[in-house]
């Protein structure tokens, strides 16, 4: 069956329908990782988006359920040059096309993803419709208006945990408790903390600072999550209180942006975001560069950060955008990239150890 991708500027790509034959509208973003498609598909930060894989052979190693980063598939659709139904890996339990069908995710294969990526890079991230219907030229203006009208909203509400839950450490206990403020977290944040002997209590994004502080955590972790950070009024308000407390805070991605917003800085939308496993980030204190996993469409505007409140801790080597903040006089470190990797390089996983040190200090 044929499937189409119609972008909001009218550009249309035609391919083959591989997943569920549903029609969806989503924000179209591309990811340049060459491995980790299941981790990407189950990353809640993709809620409301459709992912274009620039690597042309997706599905090669099938589905290893252990690699899921949440219990759901979050992108509304996936787009690839080739989707393989020949899985080969000792852990594989199913094929990617089967998984997509089971979760009712439409997917298109056989389109020129490089041309699409170049288009998104030059014209900027835009919305698009994935459909198996063949629209007539007369219908197009109406359809395009509908596509343009789409915005990713409610991402955090959809992806955060429904209720608080405590998790015992998986490594030898170090007697520390961390409150994980869940904005749509990737499982590996939780796994990374528990593996370090930490007891973790997961709080939904609807929780208040009071509830979190009442847990008497040794540290607070703010997770990644989807959407425009500025949409999260409630969390931003609560974070002000958390900032004021003296508890060590470590935040990733959306968590990083929210803490910046809570302390008076501003965020902005990047032209086409950073999504991949090869982004160089410089530790501004040591000068060392790390290869990081990234997935974000927004960034903290350094011009709006009050140097009395926070200083840049990390910077992107390619486009010099902010990749992390160290809060002055506070035990708070926030990063834009993903030290929990999954997928991607584990070069910065030591930051979780640093978080432990922050709590022990």
């Amino acid at each position: 069956m044929k499937a189409y991708l119609i972008l909001e500027d009218g550009t249309t790509f035609c391919g083959t329908c591989v997943g569920a034959p549903a029609e969806v509208i989503a924000e179209i973003v591309f990811n340049t990782s060459m491995t980790g498609y299941l981790e990407i598909l189950t990353d809640p930060s993709y809620c409301g988006q459709a992912v274009v894989f620039t690597y042309p052979l997706i599905g090669n190693y099938g589905i290893c359920f252990d690699d899921m980063e949440s219990k759901n598939i979050w992108p509304k659709a996936m787009i690839a040059r080739g989707i393989s139904d020949i899985p080969s890996n000792f852990r594989s339990e199913n094929t990617l096309p089967n998984l997509l069908k089971r979760y009712h995710i439409p997917a298109i294969s056989g389109i020129d993803t490089r041309a699409l990526t170049k288009h998104l890079r030059t014209a900027g991230t835009m919305n698009g419709m994935i459909t198996t219907k063949e629209y007539l030229p007369d219908d197009l203006p109406k359809i395009l208006a509908k596509i343009r009208g789409y915005k990713v909203t409610d991402g955090v509400r959809l992806t955060t945990a429904k209720e608080a839950e405590e998790f015992a450490p998986t490594g030898p206990s170090i007697g520390k408790r961390v409150a994980l403020y869940d904005m749509g977290e990737k499982e590996n944040i939780l796994r990374s903390l528990r593996a370090r002997g930490i007891t973790v209590k997961n709080f939904p994004a609807t929780a208040s600072a009071k509830e979190i502080l009442a847990y008497k955590p040794d540290g607070i972790m703010i997770s990644n999550g989807p959407g425009d950070p500025k949409d999260n009024f409630h969390v931003i308000k609560e974070l002000k209180e958390i900032y004021a407390s003296d508890i060590p805070v470590f935040a990733i991605c959306l968590g990083h942006q929210l803490m910046a917003l809570a302390t008076g800085a501003d965020t902005y939308k990047l032209p086409y975001g950073h999504r991949g496993a090869n982004h160089p980030v410089k530790d501004l204190e040591t000068g060392r560069v790390y290869i990081t996993s990234q997935n974000h469409g927004y960034a903290v505007d350094m011009k709006t950060v009050d140097p009395k409140i926070a200083v840049a801790a990390y910077e992107n080597v390619n486009d010099k955008t902010n990749e992390g903040l160290r809060y002055v006089g506070r035990n708070i470190l926030t990063v834009q990239f993903h030290p929990e990797a999954s997928p991607g390089p584990k070069d910065t996983e030591g930051l979780f150890d640093r978080f432990v040190e922050m709590m022990e200090a």
Binding site: F30, T32, S33, M34, T35, G36, L38, E39, T54, Y55, P56, L57, N60, Y61, C64, D67, R81, G82, I86, P87, S88, N89, F90, R91, G110, D112, T113, R114, A115, T117, K118, R121, G276, A277, N278, H279, P280, K282, G287, R288, V289, I291, V317, N318, A341, S342, P343, G344, P345, K346, D347
Partner: protein
């Protein structure tokens, strides 16, 4: 930051091309030298290989084409006083040299710093024991192993390690005496034999990881500790097949992110510990059924794999490594491809890359075709596509082995059991035998169990077979055609399968716009805007390679494809120099080539690079896009020449000598016509098609005769026949290789062989020099020792030769290069061969005469005259020194290959000996080729009857140096009669102790064994020659080579005079 105290750097190259150390080091070295000079650093280069681009005076400031011996390196350091040494770019040869210099304390006393990775790191990677300790320290697993020297110790070690175990006797070449033991009984048998064969009576007992996945990472580190991965690669063949012989795919395909990151982290962990500064290759074995892995090997330098990784990703590893050595950190080095981002990132690929090895079994028909841990490939091809199937199809046809699809070899006569056996014995045809088995219904799982090749790859082959089936059964449709082209089925194969003609397939494609588009290799999967003009083709995609109107004329330069015996790195040298010369002439340059090891496929060599197979269809895709003003074919060897007619059919003008004139030189009858017109003599001969005609021709000419196919390079299939039986056998051999061209039968004349390369502008002729071969006729020119200037030629013969050259060049309307080989017998001159194109000797003769032959030829092709270019036509004044080109062989690597020299070329590389003294030049040439003698002062001589007279004075000279000579009966008698002291030894077929025991005694320096001509006679000495070469003995099969060697040894001295060729004055 740039370390400004580094002002003058010595770079050591990798020496002659041998199997396992090929053109990739010229690519790396050239790129590094350019990177160093960009920073204002003065570069001193030492490399014995004159065929390389890195030894050009344009590439380095001081160039020593001298033997890679420690003594020579010390001499260079004393003379040039460099402050630094960069050793990680010259392969294992360069690295070993640097370590030797360091260990002697020579670097320290001469204030030379080793830049790039330090000695500690190199030692930790190279020393087996230190490596094990280092890996244990950082918790990286290696396959458990123990060295044992007795049977009982061995059995105990095997029990500790756990069966199966691999047993590897120490110091036996080619893994002789080793094997895999599944249980104690097998272990005892193999150990017993292995301990006996090992010179030091030691056997390594190692855990068997054969069958695991072999995964490689190319990684980089700077002095600040920043680490990145450039590329991951997955070998399709499991552990047990050398990665150089394996089909390799990039990036890895069957690893989930968990496994990928696990190995990536391990690789980075290792280079942190080794404190690598530059590039490094890490090889892993990964259990396909678990997360268990072992580190197989770490190469703390650039390598064949790093060249492949550079071409596969666009990331210039050698260049970045050189900058790191100068003190830069990765984040300070610009990504030359995007011009915007930095070298501190990991390339993202949005395509699939397949590398296939070019194996030399077409040259060594009798050799063992099995693939194992000893590399046998002479070269490789790379192909890029958006799917694995497409990349595999493109790689296959890039090999130039008459292979264009999975049906190219016919196994229909092989029964199922035999086929199963063929599949489990991994050999060079495994892709095709697997395909045949699948056609017969064998399951992917069954093939996987037999081969341990991951089922993903097997099923992809299955996809190609499904297409084969569809094309031959379904009616042709646009959809089917589109799908076939996406998998890169060539038009010719589609036509054959579907019953259409090739023209019909092409017409249908044009009608339905099923044409190739070109995509860019940009390091970043289109995330950033990139400027690199490096492209590959793909179907059903938007074309990115938009020709720009630069107002310049466009020239298409066809490369020479994979390195193989007969068509080596020399042709890449010529292609690259021609490209540079065209650029100087104001042309926009476009290269098509498929060899990842070369300088020609570096992204900044030409204005545009198309990484494509060199077949007519693939070239046409580029032509239809670029519409070049002309194409040049005379620099890319036979690969390019073969495409001339087809290029013309596409409407492309061939620049330089016209295709019909090229044809006139190759076509026997037309060439005879040329000779008749010019009155030039050649050995009498006939063109034949059948065995019968051949025998008739031979009878007419009288034996011995030369038999060879026309249209070949490197004398492939050429043989000297002494009787009818030989003729029959050779003709059958020739016809086994697909042969559309006639066969030539010539009278064999024994004389001195001479060779020239000349440039003709249509009027005048420039001859840089005359080369003379040390071996008499009958040995391929590429395997002969070549001397410039010619020594023994008479004045009259020389005049005749020059006159003939002029006549031929003009009669063939040569514009550009011509190569001619002659035989001189006293004052008579005969012509053997004319090639109106660039030849193997061009780089060598360019360097030693200081005449930039390729650049001049290119200017001539562009319309300039020799006089305009400032040269006086005719033979150029002879140099005041001797320059000797020595062939280098890789025989010890190809089990079962006959090493005796003949009309078919067998050498893989060459080195140079240059001096004002002939003897010293000869000594240097032998030394450069690895002949470090004398050692044991013992030798064996066994020569054919015709040589018995000539051998006496030679043997006497060896004896005078101090050699103890052993000789077989006939030779012994001849030597005794000639008054040379020697000892008699029995022949192989006689009872022991015989000549074979002498060879296996590991105490011989030299074996001189000149086999009698003819098929049967060659086989007699085969066993001796093979055993000798595998135990590291120097084997000479021509009497003239023996004479040259003794002259060389008489002139040996420790204190060699070294020559900076940039200072040679013409």
């Amino acid at each position: 930051m740039l370390d400004r105290s580094i002002k003058k750097v010595l770079v050591i190259g990798s020496g002659p091309i041998v199997i396992g150390q090929a053109a990739e080091f010229d690519y790396a070295g050239t790129q590094a030298c350019k990177a160093l000079r960009e920073e204002g650093v003065e570069v001193v280069l030492l490399n014995s290989n004159p065929a390389t681009i890195m030894t050009d005076k344009d590439v380095a400031d001081h160039v020593y084409i001298e033997p890679l011996s420690v003594e020579v390196a010390m001499k260079v350091i004393e003379q040039e006083k460099p402050d630094s040494l960069l050793a990680t770019l010259g392969g294992q040869a360069g690295l070993n040299m640097a370590m030797a210099l360091s260990e002697r304390g020579f670097l320290e006393t001469h204030n030379v710093r080793l830049i790039g990775t330090g000695t500690e790191g190199i030692k930790k990677a190279e020393d087996r024991l230190l490596f094990k300790e280092t890996m244990a320290k950082i918790g990286e697993p290696v396959a458990a192993s123990e060295v044992v020297s007795s049977l009982e110790d061995g059995v105990a070690a095997a029990a500790r390690i756990g069966y199966p175990v691999v047993l590897r006797p120490a110091y036996t070449l080619g893994g002789a005496g080793g094997g895999i033991a599944e249980n104690e009984e097998q272990c005892r048998t193999i150990l017993e034999n292995g301990l006996r064969l090992s010179r030091v009576h030691e056997v390594l007992v190692e855990r068997c990881i054969a069958g695991w996945k072999e995964i490689e990472y190319e990684v980089m580190r700077d002095h600040a500790g920043n680490v990145i991965t450039v590329c991951s690669m997955e070998n399709i063949d499991p552990v047990g097949v050398h990665t150089g012989d394996s089909v390799v795919v990039a990036p890895t395909q069957t690893l989930a992110d968990k496994e990928y990151q696990m190995l990536r982290s391990a690789a980075l962990n290792i280079i942190q510990e080794l404190k690598i500064e530059g590039g490094c290759n890490v090889q892993f074995a990964l259990d396909p059924e678990s997360f268990e892995y072992c580190v197989i090997e770490v190469n703390p330098r650039v390598s064949r794999s790093s060249a492949l990784a550079s071409k596969a990703t666009g990331y210039p590893i050698a260049k970045v490594a050189a900058k790191i050595a100068l003190g830069y950190t990765l984040d300070e080095i610009k990504n030359a491809v995007t011009g915007k981002t930095y070298a501190c990132f990991e390339p993202a690929l949005d395509y699939c890359v397949v590398k296939m090895p070019r194996l030399p079994f077409d040259k060594f028909v009798t050799a063992d075709h099995h693939l194992s841990t000893q590399m046998k490939a002479t070269g490789e091809v790379m192909a890029i596509s958006s799917c694995f199937e497409g990349a595999l199809m493109k790689a296959m046809r890039s090999l130039e082995q008459h292979v264009d699809a999975l049906l190219s070899y016919d196994y229909s006569a092989v029964d199922d059991n035999a086929l199963r056996q063929m599949i489990s014995d991994t050999d060079d045809r495994r892709i095709w035998t697997i395909a045949e088995a699948m056609r017969r219904g064998m399951s992917g799982y069954e093939i996987h169990m037999l081969t341990k090749i991951d089922e993903w790859f097997i099923k992809k082959i299955g996809n190609l077979l499904d297409m084969e089936q569809r094309l031959s059964t379904e009616p042709m449709s646009v959809q089917l055609l589109r799908a076939a082209k996406h998998m890169e089925y060539p038009d010719g194969v589609i036509a054959k399968l579907s019953g259409m003609t090739e023209d019909e397939v092409y017409a249908m494609r044009m009608e339905n716009k099923i044409t190739a588009g070109f995509k860019m290799v940009d390091t970043c999967a289109a995330e950033f805007d990139a400027m690199t003009p490096y492209y590959y083709s793909d179907y059903s995609v938007e074309n990115e390679a938009l020709p720009e109107d630069t107002g310049k004329k466009k020239v298409l330069i066809l490369g020479s494809g994979p390195i193989r015996i007969g068509q080596g790195i020399e042709f890449d040298f010529c292609s690259v120099h021609s490209t540079w010369a065209f650029a100087k002439e104001g042309y926009e340059t476009i290269i098509i080539n498929n060899n990842p090891e070369t300088v020609s496929t570096d992204f900044d060599t030409a204005d545009k690079l198309y990484f494509e197979p060199l077949t007519a269809e693939d070239v046409r895709n580029v032509v239809e896009l670029e519409h070049p003003d002309g194409a040049v074919v005379q620099f890319g060897g036979q690969t390019a020449i073969k495409l001339s007619q087809q290029l013309r059919g596409m409407g492309v003008k061939i620049l330089g000598t016209a295709p019909e004139d090229v044809d006139a030189a190759e076509d026997r009858e037309r060439f005879d016509e040329v000779l008749r017109k010019t009155g030039i003599r050649r050995p009498e001969g006939h063109t034949v098609f059948t065995e019968e005609e051949a025998r008739k021709a031979a009878a007419e000419l009288g034996y011995p005769v030369l038999v060879r196919p026309s249209y070949v390079l490197g004398g492939q299939g050429m043989q000297i026949a002494i009787n009818d039986q030989d003729v029959t056998e050779y003709i059958r051999q020739i016809n086994r290789i697909a042969q559309e061209h006639p066969i030539l039968v010539d009278k064999y004349i024994r004389g001195t062989e001479l060779e020239i390369d000349a440039i003709c502008d249509g009027q005048d002729i420039l001859i840089p020099g005359i080369m003379e071969h040390i071996e008499r006729t009958g040995i391929h020119s590429g395997d002969s020792i070549s001397v410039y200037p010619a020594q023994s030629i008479s004045q009259k013969a020389k005049e005749t030769l020059l006159r003939y050259t002029g006549l031929l060049a003009r009669e063939l309307h040569v514009i550009g290069m011509i190569n001619i080989q002659f035989i001189a017998k006293d004052d008579d001159v005969y012509i053997i061969e004319v090639n109106p194109r660039s030849s193997r000797t061009v780089p060598y003769i360019s360097k030693v005469t200081g005449i930039p032959i390729v650049a001049l030829a290119t200017s001539v092709i562009c319309g300039h005259t020799i006089r305009e270019l400032g040269y006086t036509p005719g033979l150029q004044p002879e140099a005041g020194y001797y320059a000797i080109k020595m062939p280098v062989f890789s025989f010890e690597k190809i089990r079962g290959a006959d090493i005796s020299l003949g009309p078919e070329m067998k050498s893989t590389g060459e080195c140079l000996g240059i001096s004002t003294d002939f003897g010293e030049a000869l000594y240097k040439a032998f030394l450069g080729a690895g002949v470090e003698l004398p050692h044991y002062y013992k030798m064996v001589i066994t020569v054919k009857d015709e040589d018995k007279e000539d051998i006496v004075p030679i043997a006497k000279r060896f004896a005078d140096i101090g050699y103890k000579i052993y000789a077989t009966r006939g030779t012994y008698e001849a030597l005794q009669k000639g008054g040379v002291a020697c000892e008699k030894t029995r022949k192989v077929e006689e009872e022991s102790p015989n000549i074979l025991d002498l060879v296996l005694g590991h105490e011989l320096d030299i074996v001189i064994d000149t086999p009698r001509d003819g098929a049967k006679n060659h086989r007699d000495g085969f066993l001796i020659r093979r055993n000798a070469v595998e135990t590291g003995v120097n084997v000479l099969t021509a009497i003239d080579t023996a004479q040259a060697l003794v002259t060389s040894l008489e002139n040996r001295k420790k204190d060699l005079c070294i020559v900076d060729i940039t200072k040679l004055s013409r």
